[in-house]
């Protein structure tokens, strides 16, 4: 059950998908599961929808696990899902957020890659699509979006870990989100979660040009990082992608921002400098807990500053 599920352990894709079903069954009036497409290898792409009303409302999108080897992100996504159902009706702030906005949560954004990390190659990052004319498999789904696609900070070599793909949205896992975001049309906040550099980033990654909402995004990030650090004193940096970490074209939140989703952020969760993608399982819950505080700060801002 969702009560006995071990949130302090890493889980396989099947276990996470079973967890989603359990969560929906236990909270039918709050949570539903939507399939937004299929992966390259035919696995369903599921999104959990947290909503207190039937009508379409402004929404917050959160995704984890687009880079499959970043296991702490999928594990945190599971924890967030449980936290939302536990908090609704008890935590006044989360309750008021859900009374005004829907939350969409895609826990395993790259299921083919995630399954591959459990069976064949723990360090797999990309999708599992076959590249025509190359023996190398997969595309970096965080270089495959239609925002500066093909520019600096992405590779044209299919054997590279940052291979951008043959064209924007070539990856089904990316296209499914693009289609969903466009068809929904009222997503106000988009948060894409990665690991492990302890950063909270906002657009842009493909250009040094400042985002028009730079100052506001910077203020939100500052507040969110302060909330995060208040729990375990984990030190985060924040800023635009290109100035804070490195140039990256074709990135997720550059596309969402250009699509009109003003509150577009991407996280790099904790590592503390020792483990990279192999963060020990005993750090899953502390990571999720501190990240939740930052997520709440961003979601509260969204609720209080509609546009």
């Amino acid at each position: 059950s969702v009560e006995t599920f071990n949130y302090a352990s890493y889980h396989t894709l099947d276990e996470i998908y079973n967890f989603m079903d359990l969560l929906v069954a236990a909270n039918p009036n709050l949570v539903s599961k939507i399939q937004i497409g299929n992966s390259y290898e035919g696995r369903p792409l599921y999104v959990l929808k947290f909503s207190t009303r039937g009508t379409k409302r402004p929404a917050i999108w959160i995704d984890t696990g687009i880079h499959s080897r970043e296991w702490v992100t999928q594990a945190s996504g599971v924890w967030f899902a449980k936290k939302i159902v536990d908090s609704y009706g008890k935590d006044p702030s989360l309750t008021s957020i859900l009374d005004n906005l829907d939350i969409f949560l895609e826990i395993v954004t790259n299921p083919d890659g995630f399954a591959f990390t459990h069976t064949k190659n723990r360090m797999w990052r990309k999708t599992r699509s076959i590249n025509s004319g190359s023996a190398c498999i997969g595309v970096d789904p965080n270089r495959n979006w239609d925002a500066g696609f093909g520019g600096s900070g992405a590779s044209s070599n299919p054997c590279s870990e940052t291979y951008r793909g043959p064209y924007a949205n070539s990856e089904r896992e990316v296209k499914a989100i693009v289609d969903f975001v466009k068809s929904h049309g009222n997503i106000k906040t988009f948060i894409s979660i990665h690991s492990y550099s302890q950063l909270l980033l906002y657009p842009y990654g493909y250009t040094k040009t400042r985002a028009p909402d730079y100052q506001e995004l910077n203020n939100i990030a500052k507040a969110a990082v302060a909330a995060l650090s208040s729990l375990y004193d984990t030190q985060y940096r924040y800023g635009s992608i290109i100035t804070t970490i490195y140039q990256a074209s074709g990135g997720t939140i550059d596309w969402t921002y250009n699509q009109g989703i003003k509150y577009s952020f991407t996280f790099e969760l904790r590592d503390r400098g020792r483990y990279g993608f192999l963060l020990p399982a005993n750090q899953i819950i502390p990571t999720a807990e501190e990240t939740w505080l930052a997520l709440m700060a961003i979601m509260e801002y969204t609720r209080d500053h509609p546009y």
């Binding site: 071990n6 723990r122 360090m123 940096r237 990279g276 192999l278 020990p280």
Partner: protein
Amino acid sequence: KETFVGNQVLRIFVANEADVEKVKELEELQELQLDFWRGPGGQDVPTDVRVPFASLQAVKIFLESSGIRYSILIDDLQTLVDEEQTQMIRQHFMPQ
């Protein structure tokens, strides 16, 4: 199942733009089969790179001869992967 025996993860600290360019050169050398976990970026964020055992000497010599500072973030990646696997199995057989 791919193993990572003898693979190390190096943390590279660049001091200037010339160092960044050198690390980018390294990234272009496909025969080394390097897996850049992070970067190469700017001076504020270190670059982390997984180096297969067969490429370790070449990479370390390249960095040292270029005067670029680095440290070993993960000494043997497979050991950590094994620990993770053991922990997952143990968790599955323990009462919650």
